[in-house]
Amino acid sequence: MQQVNTQHLRNYPKKPKQVYLFGTCIVDSFFPDSGMDAIELLEREGIEVIYPQGQSCCGQPAYNSGYKEEAKAVALVQVKQFPLDIPVVVISGSCGGMMRHHYLDLLGDSVGDLVGNNAEITNFCQRVFEFTEFLVHVLRLKPIDQGPKERVALHTSCAARREMGVHITGNKLISQLANVELVLHDYESECCGFGGTFAVKHADISAAMVADKSKNLVASDVVRYVSADHGCMMNINGALDYQKESLRGEHIASYLLKRIKGTSAKASL
């Protein structure tokens, strides 16, 4: 969305004892391994991870489709699931952007018994951290790489890049892996063509975009690409699989964990 990346303005808290994890609906139903890996990575750093069972979806699909009331109802329920004053770590840049930058707009002015007040919503938004942002700026993670030498690419979702600065923190994490060469693919910053309902409503334009994205990733001659967003990866991996390409994307949480543990990474669709 807008360039509202506020990493450089943000006051980061000290390393907390506990954090919440917001798993996102896509990870919940399609890629739970990434969620488990993110938790393991955080736990290895001595952090207790609380995963509230009442969470579902950040509301972005309805919000981006113009159904603000529906988005509002769902978003508000999420806020209520994370009452403690501890960080809410989100393992998707675009959901993180939604919760950090759009919730106040969406929920701030609402009234009624279901609804929190501005202060509650503001407090919530300020506690939202994208996963890689949290690793770099709060945990100051210095991953020790135990994996084999390899070349990887990083794909940053547009919202993650422009709202949460993931191209900076994701890049920093991968660059710290001693045996990994981070390869910049052509049109690295260009959208993969997912865009939620866009991929359905304008399937042909989306198809043209993901064709280019997958082509550029394959041409970069890497063993895998890494991303902090499963939305994009569902799109790109789906296209790569359809084209019978062997390249796959992997969530950065899973990738980092495997590099740290020295186990070989496996790609998932």
């Binding site: 609906c25 990870v27 139903s29 547009c158 043209a208 789906g238 359809y242």
Partner: protein, 497 residues
């Protein structure tokens, strides 16, 4: 020339037409490669034009504030502009609709018994379809901007607001010239092509009765019309013919002369990566006594055409900050794929998506706001910081609102609403706001994942379908927590023994 028809222009942008255009243009490989190449070039040029991100950010913020200040005072500034221009000897005309604008211009030309017009580049005159209107009245219009000239020869419309013929490559232009210009010496060398075009245009400037141009900035303080151009054709159009008519949208007014330099600098750098355009014209008056050139009469037509509707809403008003640099198109991954003509609107690309609904109505443009991934590239490069993705969201909201009899913010509100889609979102909200229903539906999705269809409409035309996991993250963590609780209990038991 095609006859001008308001209904037709509405159809051109309709959902049905948009789909057909997209299919046609996505399949045209030459077109795709023309756009990709040109956009890559323009993006690189823009990037090189700024010494640092910081410099760019400071300038963007400054120019946003200038435009917002001017828009906040718009009614007052327009009156001041009219006053100053009239004092300077430039006659001002107000047009609410495109038809009114065309009538005013046709009358001015008729009064001088004008038969031939040379035009500098003007997107507002494209908006009013002025050429078609005048041709119907036996006035010959010749586009003198090289890109516009090419487009006119090809009987097309501009595909980009700054580079109208960017969809054509040099081979295509050479063929077009060969087919249409007598005595054209075939060449695909760009300089030779342009030189031959210029020679033809040169004579036309001297013969024309009327010059028509656009305006980039209209300065209220001094009554000055500023015109940015690279070919010198704008200066020819506004100095040689006896009658000069300028046409522009009401949002182009700026308060002070000192507002112009930062806007100009950011405009040319954002558009083509130039530090300054080759020509910058400041028109203050018609020819004065003792002067050797310049038109005897200068007129300005100020067009509304839906701009007031955007102005009336605080959020949508930001649409009018636009200085028409085209950077949003150059950086748009959708525009780069489908090109400018597919949109079916005079203004294509991201800015076209947010301005056209005010001109044509949301009913005629309901497919435009959804044709975006909201990637944000446009908002990131916009020199006056128009939050284009946010405005797209707002237009989506207006588009799917239930129709009502209450006064509407936008013409055509609710035109994109489908009852099926509305119901889907209602059910979606119901499920996702109830942890119990959500758990139940996820249980269903994962347990019955073998029922997941292999074909999912457009999604699986180029991708394999994703497969739900065997167990959700919720479930896996629930059992993990239960296991932990059990372990904790066991260890307490052992300890107590």
């Amino acid at each position: 020339m095609k006859q001008f028809n308001e209904e037709e222009s509405k159809y051109a942008a309709s959902a049905k037409a948009f789909r057909a255009n997209v299919t046609r243009d996505l399949g045209n490989e030459e077109l795709r490669s023309n756009f990709r190449g040109a956009m890559d070039y323009l993006m690189a040029k823009r990037k090189d034009a700024f010494s640092s991100e910081d410099e760019l950010e400071v300038l963007r913020e400054q120019c946003k504030l200038i435009k917002q200040r001017c828009l906040a005072k718009l009614p007052h500034l327009l009156e001041q502009l009219e006053d100053k221009l009239e004092t300077n000897g430039i006659k001002v005309h107000w047009a609410e609709t495109i038809t009114e604008a065309n009538e005013i211009i046709a009358q001015l030309i008729a009064q001088k018994k004008g038969k031939t017009v040379v035009k500098g580049k003007s997107m507002v005159s494209e908006e009013t379809a002025l050429n078609d209107y005048l041709e119907e009245r036996n006035v010959e219009c010749l586009e003198s901007d090289m890109g516009e000239y090419i487009v006119q020869l090809a009987k097309q419309h501009p595909s980009h607001i700054i580079m109208p013929a960017i969809h054509q490559n040099k081979q295509q232009v050479a063929k077009l010239f060969a087919d249409n210009i007598d005595g054209f010496e075939y060449s695909t060398d760009v300089d030779t092509l342009i030189q031959q075009g210029r020679t033809i245009l040169r004579d036309k400037f001297c013969q024309a009765d009327v010059g028509i141009s656009g305006v980039n900035f209209a300065v209220a303080e001094t009554g000055t019309l500023c015109l940015v151009e690279n070919e010198g054709n704008g200066r020819m159009c506004t100095t040689i013919p006896d009658l000069h008519i300028a046409i522009t949208g009401i949002e182009k007014v700026v308060e002070h002369l000192s507002d112009v330099p930062p806007l100009l600098s950011l405009l040319t750098r954002s558009a083509t990566g130039q530090a300054i355009s080759t020509y910058f014209n400041m028109i203050n008056s018609p020819r004065k006594e003792g002067e050797k050139d310049g038109p005897k009469e200068v007129h300005l037509v100020l067009l509304d055409n839906g701009r007031s509707q955007a102005f009336a809403d605080e959020e949508l008003r930001q649409t009018l900050q636009c200085i028409r640099c085209g950077a949003c198109m150059n950086h748009c991954p959708v525009y780069t794929r489908i090109g400018g003509h597919a949109y079916g609107t005079v203004y294509p690309g991201p800015i076209g998506k947010i301005i056209s609904p005010h001109m044509l109505g949301l009913d005629a443009t309901s497919n435009l706001p959804t044709a975006s991934t909201l990637c944000g590239a446009c908002g990131e490069v916009c020199p006056v910081k128009i939050p284009i993705p946010k405005i797209l969201l707002r237009l989506r909201e207006e588009s799917v609102k239930p129709k009502s009899d209450k006064p509407q913010v936008m013409q055509g509100q609710g035109a994109g609403r489908s009852n099926v889609e509305a119901l889907i979102w209602k059910v979606w909200a119901l499920v996702h706001k109830s942890p119990t229903l959500y758990a139940l539906s996820m249980w269903g999705v994962t347990r019955f994942r073998f029922l997941m269809p292999k074909k999912l409409g457009g999604w699986t035309s180029v991708r394999t379908a994703p497969k739900p996991a065997a167990k959700t993250l919720h479930e896996r963590l629930k059992s993990k927590q239960e296991k932990r609780a059990k372990q904790a209990k066991q260890s307490t038991n052992t300890a107590s023994r």
